[in-house]
Subunit: 347 residues, 2 copies
Amino acid sequence: MNRSRTTVVDIAHAAGVSKSTVSLVLQGSPLVNEKTREKVNSVIADLGYVYNRGAANLRQSRSKIVGIVVNDLTNSFFAELAVGMDMVVQSAGYVQFLAHSGESVDRQREVIASMRENGIAGLILSPARGTEAADLKPLIDSGIPVVIVVRNLPGAKVSTLLSDNYTGAKAAVRHLISLGHSRIGFMGGFLDTAVFAERLRGYRDALQEAGLAVDEALIIHSAPSRAGGVAAVERMMLLADRATAALCLNDAVAFGVCDGLRSVGIEPGKGFGVIGFDDVIEAKTAVPALTTVSVDPQGMGQRAAQLLLKQINAGGSEQESLVTSVRLVVRQSCGAPVKNNHLEKMA
Amino acid sequence: MNRSRTTVVDIAHAAGVSKSTVSLVLQGSPLVNEKTREKVNSVIADLGYVYNRGAANLRQSRSKIVGIVVNDLTNSFFAELAVGMDMVVQSAGYVQFLAHSGESVDRQREVIASMRENGIAGLILSPARGTEAADLKPLIDSGIPVVIVVRNLPGAKVSTLLSDNYTGAKAAVRHLISLGHSRIGFMGGFLDTAVFAERLRGYRDALQEAGLAVDEALIIHSAPSRAGGVAAVERMMLLADRATAALCLNDAVAFGVCDGLRSVGIEPGKGFGVIGFDDVIEAKTAVPALTTVSVDPQGMGQRAAQLLLKQINAGGSEQESLVTSVRLVVRQSCGAPVKNNHLEKMA
DNA sequence: CGATATAATTGGAACGTTCCAAATTTGTCA
DNA sequence: TGACAAATTTGGAACGTTCCAATTATATCG
């Protein structure tokens, strides 16, 4: 393998033009004559030239790379979010560094540093638990656009894309109340994320609005995962005065709650109303189909990526904060009668 | 923002040394005096210098970037695979381009081309359906190490890391037979992937070995997803002579099969034995807990990444093909009695 | 046809690093 | 102290592109 990489100069030489002309062709400039463009392009194909974007980045001091850091890729909500981003990033001619912080702020710091060294044009971050606004300061000061998604990061001067957790949770609890429930639990999650706080607030307000007391014993903390949902049910079973329905922090918890209920002989959607949050792809096909607050993670990923790209192109760093609206999707797990579930299953 | 990026030259100037010395410090060379090293490092910290890896890559004509392309990130098997890779890639000081091909060979071609332009040091690919060995030819010829994972790509001269699909499927079916089943189905998947072919072969051989006839009607093709599993059950219900148990192409299908069974009033693990494949993270906590062939996707991702890094460092492109062994994890969904499921649930 | 406008092309200097060969400083020993 | 070795430092040329100003070819017009 002693033949070194073919470069613009090689192309230029073979096509009988200057490297500047080749560069113009590469950039699709209208300045170059149609004849020579064809010539150059054919030589490029012949020699199997591959463009060195790194060299271009160096000269132009900007890149076509965006960084994406999510806190937990194994959670399908985030996986879908990532896929949504991937779609718009790719079709805008960018590539993405995608990293998984696993809820570790240290890891998160490392990968962001590494991405900076590699010259990202912008960053989309779903912050790990415990991330501080100050952690992003150097990045932002250096003029790199940042978009925060899913979890709020109060105090950070960046664009943000969140879902309307408060309204969604409120709507879900209202629905349970309208079905006749009065002892409604809130399951999953810990105090340290903004998402948790917002959804819990929606839960509280919906209860108060209906004149129902909030029983703190029915707010059951647990890991925001399927296993956490199972654990939450186990803890609820120890209570004397149990709930008859619950809003769960997210769909993963909700599935876990269904599992947990079954293993104590309660059929979710019959003996107990369960509502999730996120509308993960499996929510629709699960049995019972999960009533949940739909956030459309892929769509949200797309919007986040669009927001970032807009910001990269604008150059100006005017921050923008969007709240995407959510809607309650009523399926079986809440116990509501549903006319024709086949319609939705097939959708 | 008129102050441009600080560079080694700025550091050198501020520290009263030459840029070469700064470069040496940056690389941790033992040639430089301890005193000056400290001086330089402190200046680096003061000025908030960020290393430009792109420029270094240009000069050295090698990079610390690996490309990872998976066919479906929304499938949690692949998401976990990606997380496993991420772990070793990150701790080796590399970053990863991670892209999702969505089973489209066109998309796959595009992202691989884009990654090449961006100068990846190696590629890990879980090929989209329909990928040909020839598609990778140019990449391989250019001397970039490639590791194929999960799905075989016959004819490609690259390293490969597959799981032992044949043996795993065989073991699963043997287990069902030992539980007394004689009409065993195979659900999910299409003919066009090597994975499907291998698992199906294991299924066939296990049946024949036991002297049981293979009924083609019980091999039910469907999308390799949860929805596909539901559909497979619906189709099976139309048969006169139904199966009493099934091996599913993967866990996603198996979950769908459980859903489908429930919606026709059959309890998975009781009236019907279900075995999955992959041992996705939820398999353990699902109800009933899924009996499945464990592939340890994270571990597999780690091994794949290690294999790639080894190959990058060796330079020499001697290909290596590994088959990771699998083991049957017996839980509830197959109907086998399990002593103490709490032990495993808590693990 | 000469003059001028327009289209197309082109050298060379950047971009921020690494690496080599060469230069300089420091240490050691007779 | 002088000679030599070892340790440390250093210019400058690369890497493959883009961009600017300047040049050359081609078209247009009176």
